[in-house]
């Protein structure tokens, strides 16, 4: 570590201690895309992970789920109590029903709030300024037997849970836009019916970028859209079998590019449909 980065780190540590004198446990949430359109449903895979780290505390925790529509509008929050070692599959339809919302695309962030006993113990055994994070899996499915799940790939930026307003600023992760991004994954076009890229803006400020489906290896553009994604909003940009077939030289493979991710690791979700088969989905 260089002298300047060491000093910077020390400065951050001291600032955080100053704004969090009672030593509360700050928590960062994670955020996923939800899809409730064209027969596709989403579900959150939540679990009481604190009981895996401090098995002797043995108390329930609260999972808070914050939902946003594709245009970034905050839809509200729901909470669920998780007992030790419990896992919960929470359908997005339940969340939306509870919120009286009808969004078909958007994002959902999760913060799992520990009981006071867990928080106290983690602060006690952890390093100075210890934090907790709430990554989770998002599942996707349909009535046709499609099944998919994706781990958290980026945080919910803009808010730190468990501490006050000033400490929030000190503990908040800075969301940095990443540079131009190209998926390292090639997509076979034989039998491909449709490929959709879903991009979430995990940050607290709107961002503009261009999402592009390219033929491989010649690099011809098959579909492209420049989009502005509101904070915590989401967009979809797809390519169809017709787009592939109508290319001047129909390619055997595709790849996906984005002119700058909206956050450091805010890679898109890629949904593929081949023939009459089930969809698959994973991060790009």
């Amino acid at each position: 570590m260089t002298t300047s980065s060491s000093l910077r780190k020390r400065g951050v540590t001291m600032a955080r201690r100053a704004v969090n004198p009672r030593g509360k446990l700050p928590r960062r949430g994670y955020e996923h895309c939800f899809i409730e359109e064209e027969g596709v449903h989403s579900r959150l895979h939540l679990h009481h992970f604190y009981s895996m780290f401090l098995p002797d505390v043995n108390e329930p925790v609260e999972a808070h789920v914050h939902a946003y529509a594709a245009d970034g509008k905050r839809l509200g929050s729901v909470s669920r109590t998780l007992q030790p070692l419990n896992a919960l599959v929470l359908p997005m339809t339940d969340v939306l029903r509870e919120l009286g919302a009808s969004a078909t695309l958007g994002s959902v962030a999760v913060d799992v709030e520990p009981s006071e006993a867990y928080a106290r113990k983690l602060v006690e055994i952890g390093p100075q300024n210890a934090m907790a994070q709430s990554p989770f899996w998002m599942g996707y499915y349909d009535d046709g037997g499609s099944v998919a799940y994706v781990h958290s790939i980026d945080q919910f930026y803009g808010t730190v849970f468990g501490v006050g307003r000033v400490a929030n600023m000190a503990y908040r992760a800075r969301s940095r836009r990443s540079g131009d991004w190209a998926s390292k994954r090639l997509i076979d076009t034989a039998g491909l019916r449709r490929a959709d890229a879903y991009l979430v803006n995990h940050s607290s400020s709107a961002g503009q970028t261009t999402i592009r489906w390219r033929a491989h290896p010649d690099g011809a553009t098959l579909a492209e859209q420049t989009v502005t994604v509101q904070p915590h909003g989401a967009v979809r940009v797809g390519v169809t079998a017709a787009d592939v077939a109508n290319a001047s030289a129909p390619p055997a493979r595709l790849r996906l590019e984005i002119d700058g991710l909206l956050t450091e690791n805010g890679k898109p979700y890629v949904m593929l449909r081949y023939g009459d088969g089930p969809f698959s989905l994973h991060h790009g």
Partner: protein, 308 residues
């Protein structure tokens, strides 16, 4: 940290297990993510080797493709493994390793390399492993970076605590766990004992299932088979058909992958798990050891069907 005598083929890898037993072929996307302005920029020479599930080396394929900086390729495993191919597996699934060796190291049996350079080369790209079937119109997979593992030259203690809250099992769904025992050390011979606990959505521990994974081998575990053999499949489904599987080993690191399959559509959900530091970024050392010990006492001892 300088790593001496390192086989350069193991700097950047893509390791995986095939899924032929369930009816899928395997293909991988490999990329050279180094940009022209990187001091590490170089061609990557792709070679391959395969092992049985028990870790017996079946054979290898010398470099057969060169990926230039910024380039991509997709390789079908069946082009290298199977009847009439370079490697014969007698129809059995294999643990495969694609090696992406930097051009300047090709042909050198060993090199001395800084650990930071190894990780700098790994971190520029994920590799995507895809299971597919034309007959079922399925193509699904997962991306990860194949880091060097179980290498005594890197020091440190090796253990695995896996928590996978995406255990889906019912009449038409099964979740397969695939555990790989990989090493970047040529003389590696550590068999890993890995214990699994299957926990229903309400926290009831319904079954334990200890396995061993041979060095350079892999094990696939059908959660439905485990629950059925333990006589608790109906109970698991009655409690929601979802839950969590916890895996633990105190002597060795396995790569834990989760593949859920719908029997009707043959659709697949594939992903890796997240290590503890994703939840508690500072987790480690004595705190981690003490907690792991308690988890072991609570989840891997006594009767399996014992709600806490």
């Amino acid at each position: 940290m300088l790593v001496e005598g390192f086989d350069p083929r193991y700097i950047k890898m893509c390791y995986f297990a095939t899924l032929g037993e369930l009816g899928y072929k395997t293909r991988v996307s490999l990329a050279n993510g180094l940009k022209a302005d990187s001091p590490l920029v170089d061609d990557l020479h792709v070679s391959f080797e395969a092992f049985t599930s028990a870790g017996r080396r079946l054979g290898s394929v010398d470099p057969f493709e060169i990926i230039p900086p910024g380039g991509f390729t997709m390789v079908e495993v069946e082009d290298h493994v199977g009847p009439g191919r370079a490697i014969e597996s007698n129809g059995e699934d294999v643990l495969g390793i694609f090696h992406l060796t930097p051009g300047k190291f090709v042909g050198k049996p060993t090199i001395d390399i800084d650990l930071r350079e190894i990780f700098a080369r790994i971190s520029v790209s994920d590799e995507y492993i895809e299971y597919h079937s034309d007959a079922w119109s399925v193509a699904a997979g997962l991306a990860y970076q194949s880091i060097p593992m179980n290498d005594p030259r890197f020091g440190g203690t090796r253990s695995t605590l896996m928590q996978s809250p995406k255990l889906l099992v019912d009449a038409e769904t099964d979740t397969n766990l695939i555990l790989l025992n990989i090493s970047s050390f040529q003389g590696y011979d550590q068999e890993i004992a890995f214990e699994l606990a299957f926990i229903a959505a309400n926290g009831e521990r319904l079954a334990n299932h200890p396995i061993t994974v041979r060095p350079f081998g892999f094990t696939r575990v059908s959660s439905r088979d485990v629950l059925r053999e333990a006589g608790v499949l109906d109970r698991f489904i009655e409690l929601g058909g979802n839950g969590m599987v916890v895996g633990f080993s105190d002597k060795g690191s396995v790569v834990p992958l989760s593949i859920t399959r719908n029997d009707r559509s043959k659709g697949l959900a594939c992903d890796h798990t997240l290590p503890p530091m994703y939840y508690l970024p500072w987790w480690g050392g004595a705190v981690r050891k003490a907690a792991n010990q308690r988890v072991r006492e609570l989840l891997f001892s006594g009767d399996a069907v014992a709600p806490r």
